[in-house]
């Protein structure tokens, strides 16, 4: 009996050892002399076939910084009243509310940073830090980041760099520590906040002329990515609740028409950049815009309440 256990644990050890070497970051090609030889079949096609089945899929939503940049580039004004007040920070005690509001506050601080709202920027960075700390995200936003912000308060490039870095610290920590559902909720919070601010900044009188309307319509292109992102964490009760909310948003986006001509890539040697040429026709009625604004506001307000 003991012998059998010893054999089983030996097999288990070899299996885990193989697994460890397959998943470890450093490959073995560079130093063949140091390789630990793991017996492999002569033809590893079947193994590679299995690996292919486990291919990785990334669903990339616009980051809060990108969302804020889109609002600014459309020529929208800054309105502090649209942001989630930092005084709400102590009301978020569940993982779900902290994750969503980490995204919300990161979007708000990106928005404040692009409009050079210096004091607000620091307040919102502190609010985001509180959310990240509450989620147990180590070293996402450190006091030295906030000090660096204060020292470079008039240097927009450094500020954007700090905002981008702190956001990456949070989502990489969550991904690397087996919390993709929380990482997804952070992204959803940021995306919904960007959409909320955008819709609130549109005056119905200028629905046909405001450039921001085009950016709002563009978000239809991300709604399936968002649902796929949430679907990958399906079964998590907080994510399941969000899927229901986002499905309401998809129903409204489905009423917006976007027709794009085939994309033609053209390389511009002068700028060393490829231009993806295409024409687009969109159609969104005022009624659909109002419905979209109302659904977005309902969802966003449920996040920040």
């Amino acid at each position: 009996m003991n012998k059998k256990y010893r054999i089983n644990s030996g097999i288990l050890f070899v299996f885990i050892l193989i697994l460890s070497f397959l998943t470890a970051c450093k490959g073995s090609k560079k130093a063949p002399d140091e390789e630990i030889q793991v017996p492999m079949p002569e033809d590893n096609t079947a193994i590679l076939q299995d690996i292919k089945q486990a291919e990785k899929i990334f669903n990339a939503l616009p980051s809060p910084l990108e969302s804020a940049m889109l609002i600014k580039s459309a020529g929208a004004r800054f309105d502090e009243a649209l942001l989630n007040p930092v005084t709400n920070v102590n009301t978020y005690v569940t993982s779900k509310s902290m994750a969503l509001n980490l995204g919300v506050y990161t979007c708000d601080l990106s928005f404040a940073s692009l409009y050079e709202q210096t004091q607000l920027l620091i307040d919102y960075m502190n609010a985001a830090k509180k959310m990240a700390d509450g989620l147990g995200i180590l070293k996402a936003i450190e006091q030295e980041d906030i000090d660096r912000l204060e020292e470079n308060i008039n240097n927009s490039e450094v500020i954007m760099d700090i905002v981008s870095q702190t956001f990456m610290n949070s989502n990489s920590y969550l991904e690397d520590n087996g919390q993709p559902a929380t990482a997804a909720m952070v992204l959803v919070g940021g995306w919904v906040e960007g959409l909320y601010i955008s819709t609130q900044l549109v005056d119905m009188k200028e629905l046909n002329t405001n450039k921001l309307v085009g950016r709002i319509i563009d978000q239809k292109l991300s709604i399936d990515i968002l649902l796929n992102l949430l679907d990958s964490s399906k079964g998590n009760p907080a994510v399941d609740e969000l899927i229901i909310e986002v499905a309401k948003l998809k129903n409204v986006f489905d009423k917006i028409k976007i027709n794009t001509s085939p994309v033609r890539p053209e390389f511009d040697p002068a700028s060393n950049t490829t231009v993806l040429k295409s024409e687009v026709k969109t159609d969104m009625t005022p009624e659909v815009f109002l419905e979209l604004s109302a659904v977005v506001a309902e969802i966003r307000n449920s996040f920040v309440k």
């Binding site: 970051c25 990456m168 994309v263």
Partner: protein, 147 residues
């Protein structure tokens, strides 16, 4: 009892090893991939995974007409060349780095906003019988306002 202790120790070892690999992946993305964005502002998103020789990954993202973008895709030196293709929603290939000496970056801008698909493939050393090489592959996006 001894078996339980052995399994616990091995599990701890594997967990520590994977955490180390993930941390290494993050360090690789930050140290090697991020600088490739150069003058573009990193969007703050993190996409990286440990991939094995021959393995494919896909990424879906919306790109906006107001921006200029740079995508940077890098694999650790332990891996063979990383191929990547950018496709539109109709699966038309708009760019392949294989036709550009496996360049690690691509700069582009759009006349109208599009959802694009990136297909990333770790090519193969083509050495049957060898343990497939594995390593971190990082994908990062930078943007700036269109001039």
């Amino acid at each position: 009892m001894r078996l339980l202790k052995t399994i616990s120790l091995i599990a701890l070892f594997v967990f520590a090893l994977n955490s180390y690999a993930d941390a290494q992946c993050k360090a690789f993305a930050r140290k090697e991939c991020l600088p490739e964005l150069a003058t573009y502002t990193h969007d703050g998103n993190y996409h990286a995974a440990v991939l094995i020789e021959g393995e494919e990954a896909e990424l879906y993202k919306t790109f906006y007409s107001d921006m200029e973008y740079r995508v940077a895709i890098l694999g650790e030196s332990s891996l063979p060349a990383i191929e990547f293709k950018i496709m539109d929603i109709n699966k038309n290939v708009l760019y392949s780095n294989k036709d550009n000496k496996y360049a690690s970056t691509w700069d582009f801008k759009l006349e109208s906003s599009q959802q694009l698909k990136l297909v990333i493939k770790v090519s193969s050393f083509n050495q049957p019988g060898d343990t497939p090489a594995s390593g971190c592959v990082a994908i990062m996006f930078g943007f700036k306002l269109k001039k």
